[in-house]
């Protein structure tokens, strides 16, 4: 499960900050393609699979996974349903974290009996995923729920593990991981 992207990312630090490039554009693309293949392999036929991106960082990744899977499977097959889920009001640390009022939940199908694949950019404490499992319940009873993330940075506080990982990245709690379609960076958290 723990593959590296296989490339040699630029780890030089920039002059203005302690920003470290962990994955580049090509690495992110390769990871998405690999995860897409793994999803197809593990869910033979993709019957009943629904891909749901977690607001906000997981949404673009879910969209990319769906388009990549469609491309691999052939455009003549029906597309996998794609949804987004905002969990801010389901969190157990609601007093500690800001909410993002612009994020919306949009689940296009009844989830009862479906195989839900939750997608997020970074897996950290696991509390977002726990909140997402609660929120999902309001849209039906999936037959299974899987989890795909671009970065698993460790420090789990709950018994949650990902099924698909772009890259395992050991981090300190005081570090900040940023994921975008262009790449992944790691930096020391700025105080305040």
């Amino acid at each position: 499960m723990t593959q590296d992207s296989g490339s040699h990312p630029d780890t030089s630090q920039t002059a203005t900050s302690n920003l470290v490039q962990v994955l580049g554009l090509a690495d992110v693309n390769r990871a998405i393609t690999r995860i897409a293949h793994e999803i197809i392999e593990r869910n033979r036929g993709l019957d009943g699979v629904v891909i749901i991106g977690l607001q906000r960082g997981g949404v673009w990744l879910a969209e990319r996974l769906v388009s990549t899977i469609n491309h691999i499977e052939g455009e003549d097959k029906p597309s996998i349903p794609l949804g987004k889920l905002d969990v801010s009001l389901f969190r157990d640390d609601i007093n500690l974290r800001p909410v993002t009022p612009v994020s919306v939940t949009d689940i296009p199908v009844d989830l009862t009996g479906s195989k839900v694949l939750l997608v997020d950019d970074v897996l950290f404490t696991g509390r977002t995923v726990r909140a997402a499992l609660d929120a999902l319940n309001q849209y039906g009873r999936p037959s299974s729920v899987q989890l795909a993330v671009m970065i698993d940075r460790g420090h789990r506080e709950l018994p949650i593990r990902p099924d698909y990982v772009g890259k395992n990245l050991p981090t300190g709690r005081d570090e900040d991981v940023r994921v975008s379609p262009e790449g992944v960076t790691l930096s020391k958290k700025v105080n305040g």
Partner: protein
């Protein structure tokens, strides 16, 4: 934000923050299960010393959709003594572990008084002729949404909003004027001189005593409830004359511009200020105001109780 007591206290940044949160809550209300665990374990007490249907039920619906526990404490105006007994009531109920009081009282300023007697948050659901901040927020939200605009400090810019009726005795009008003008709208008050308050000179509004002169120019026509008891005070000669000059009838409804929104805070006096069936108007927002009230009050409760010390910490 610790309390919501008035629009000026909330400020324009606070108004914009609540409008953004309300957008999010409106989306929650469209979900198949419109309920989230955000305020699980918090207790909210409605303390209504004045009659109310929609505001009280709207607040309770909002609290329940955020999974808070609600209790209602209804007191008829006549049975309540001010001063010590009100203090005792608040202290007693607070001692049970209450996170917030939603208060309506006939005396202006009561929400400020109560917040000296309890550590709980105070949300003003109407105090005398003074303030009704959640009404102003839901009215602003309704206009903003109807125009397809996003929350910002100038989201009502370019609009002329006509508020018609008994401005003098209306807490809705006072809060609305403050919210609408803070968001960039122009407000014109339409009422007989006797129903305008003396302090109107200092307000950022224009006034007119003729609805016919103004009605064609407004983007929003906001009709206030004409309270029948005002007739006894001889502020208006009789209801018939008030209706003839300030009521919305068939003839005036045709003078409204096509895009103009029709609003009313309820409860409506059919046959007094409303002489037509508002449902026949294409841009009738009255039901939408009630629906939006739940989303806006969810936003207020979440901002007061769900956030950190400095408010809900909204990220846009």
């Amino acid at each position: 934000m610790k309390h919501l007591r008035s629009i000026p206290e909330l400020g324009v940044d606070g108004i914009v923050r609540i409008l953004g949160l309300a957008n999010h809550m409106a989306e929650v209300n469209r979900r198949p299960v419109p309920k989230v665990p955000a305020l699980n374990g918090r207790t909210i007490v409605s303390l209504f010393f004045e009659d109310s249907t929609r505001t009280r039920i709207s607040f309770e619906t909002a609290a329940k959709r955020l999974s808070a526990d609600t209790m209602t404490f209804s007191v008829s105006t006549s049975s309540v003594n001010k001063g010590e007994s009100l203090k005792d009531t608040i202290e007693t109920v607070s001692a049970m572990g209450v996170a917030a009081f939603v208060v309506r009282h006939k005396t202006s300023g009561i929400p400020w008084q109560l917040s000296e007697w309890t550590d709980a948050s105070i949300i003003n659901a109407g105090d005398g002729w003074h303030q009704h901040p959640t009404q102003a927020l839901l009215d602003s939200f309704t206009i903003m949404s109807a125009l397809g605009r996003s929350p910002s400090s100038d989201c009502l810019k370019g609009l002329t909003i006509g508020i018609v009726g008994d401005i003098r005795h209306s807490r809705v009008a006072r809060s609305d004027i403050q919210a609408f003008t803070a968001l960039g709208a122009k407000v014109v008050l339409v009422a007989p001189r006797t129903l305008l308050p003396p302090e109107v000179e200092g307000w950022p509004v224009t006034t007119s005593s003729s609805l016919d002169e103004v009605i064609g120019e407004v983007d929003v026509l906001y009709m206030l409830r004409m309270q029948r008891e005002r007739m006894n005070e001889a502020l208006v000669p009789n209801l018939g004359e008030y209706s003839a000059r300030y009521g919305l009838d068939e003839r005036r409804s045709k003078m409204l511009s096509e895009h103009a929104l029709l609003m009313h805070p309820g409860p409506m006096n059919r046959g007094v200020e409303m002489l037509i069936d508002p449902a026949s108007m294409p841009n009738n927002m009255i039901t939408q105001q009630v629906a939006n009230g739940v989303s806006v009050r969810m936003a207020v409760l979440f901002d007061v109780l769900g956030g950190s010390e400095t408010g809900a910490g909204v990220v846009s």
